[in-house]
Amino acid sequence: MQTETQETPAGNSQPVRCLLGMLGTDVHSKGIRTIAQLLRDAGIEVIYLGEHNSVKGMARAAVDEDADLVGLSFSSAAYVTYTRQLIEEMNRIGAGDIPVMLGGIIHPDDHAELRTMGVRGIFGAGSTTDEIVAFVQSMGRSR
């Protein structure tokens, strides 16, 4: 039964498109897999890349998928290096405006450095689902 409130296909609404993936050899994907499902349930279109992406491949995916933001999950201590590499690659291919957020085990001592290199959201241990969803929603088409 169609209702009057349903958006028509010609309406200008579009779900937020959020790329989620991991870099390096990190295999701890259960967190990002759960977040992918929770974001889906909050109306987000998650483009799920899974584990073991290359920096180049992930930056390319952000472009090809017209992602509104890129979410990375880390449980390995190499996150500062990998995040910098990704942001540099995104800048190189003209995607530096796509915001990047980080989740996982992110030590407070690194927050300042990550912010400086352009990371927009940091969701370490103790972040709630609501906080993450609200941030992702806010990264929609308004930018």
Binding site: T8, G50, S54, G57, R60, D64, E65, G94
Partner: protein, 312 residues
């Protein structure tokens, strides 16, 4: 005017990605860009892949990309996954199976969600094909979410439609009887090492044999693959090439082209009509005529006839 189209024509992937999103939202400017790009297309060979969940569609796409890349052909993929009917969100996970091509400049993958609205997806896929084609990709592959009417519409944009099946899951043969054969140009039994695969291929060949010949003179081949191990892919690509050659013959090019353009046009019209009708029943368009029906001074038949008078 057409700035995005110009960027897409130079191979700008950022512009292409953005334009697909804008087309999905039916933004007027984007539709103009698409019109420009349409005139630059027509060179790419298009492949549609449909089949039940779990048949290995993404894995087959991955294997096909590998094979085409060995021949130095560039490949663009539109991979469709379902949106949640409750939240409208989605987890689009097809790229995971195509990861070995992530760094390859000759491959572009775009994930698309079904987004619920009838006709909307088919329109968006047709638009994406238009964009990839104008960018100069040699091969465009459309991967659907399953089998059914909406998938039939989606793969209708392609000149070679692969129906993927496996012998796993008992009721597949019933599903085939129900009519999905209608849309297939090639049938592939994947996971061929699974028990019952040979029997299934035989059944399919017999079913096809009993059917009247196709008007375009094409004989539907039944092939077997183990896509996860790149087995049987060369033979499938050969069959695809035969299909392209067949379509390329002078007297048949119009048949296939007509099917593709009809699919795109039907989808576009579907969206437009639904949109118009939606405006009508929400009282935003022709509120007086609508009010008249509500008050039984007029009737739905008359209003519908008025609405489509111009097209008739």
């Amino acid at each position: 005017m057409g700035a995005m189209a110009d960027r897409v024509l130079t191979g700008d992937r950022r512009a292409a990605g953005r334009l697909i999103s804008e087309a999905e939202r039916r933004e007027p400017q984007a539709l103009q860009d698409l019109g420009i790009l349409y005139q630059h297309g027509g060179h790419a060979r298009t492949i549609g892949i449909t089949g039940p969940p779990g048949a290995g569609k993404s894995t087959l796409v991955d294997a096909l990309i590998t094979c085409f890349r060995k021949q130095a052909l560039t490949v663009a993929v539109a991979a469709v996954d379902p949106s949640s009917p409750i939240s409208q969100g989605a987890v689009l996970g097809d790229r995971v199976r195509m990861m070995r091509h992530a760094d390859d400049d000759g491959v572009l993958v775009r994930s698309m969600a079904t987004r619920g609205a009838l006709g909307g997806l088919s329109t968006a896929v047709g638009d994406a094909i238009t964009i990839f084609d104008a960018m100069g990709f040699d091969i465009i592959i459309v991967e659907t979410v399953g089998v059914g009417q909406s998938e039939t519409d989606v793969v209708g944009h392609c000149e070679a439609v692969i129906l993927l099946q496996t012998a796993l899951g008992g009721d597949d043969i019933q599903a085939i009887k129900a009519g999905v054969l209608e849309i297939a140009d090639l049938i592939v039994v994947n996971k061929k090492s699974a028990p019952g695969s040979d029997r299934m291929a035989r059944f399919l060949r017999e079913s096809l044999h009993d059917r009247p010949a196709r008007p375009d003179g094409w004989t539907i081949p039944v092939l077997m693959t183990e896509a996860s191990e790149d087995i049987g892919i060369d033979a499938l690509v050969d069959a695809l090439m035969q299909r392209f050659d067949h379509n390329g013959a002078e007297d048949r090019v119009s048949v296939t082209r007509r099917r593709q353009v009809a699919a795109h046009l039907m989808a576009l019209a579907d969206v437009e009509i639904r949109s118009l009708t939606q405006r009508l029943v929400s009282g935003r368009a022709a509120p007086e005529a609508w009010q008249a029906v509500l008050e039984r001074r007029s009737d739905p038949w008359t209003l519908s006839a008025q609405l489509f008078e111009q097209l008739r």
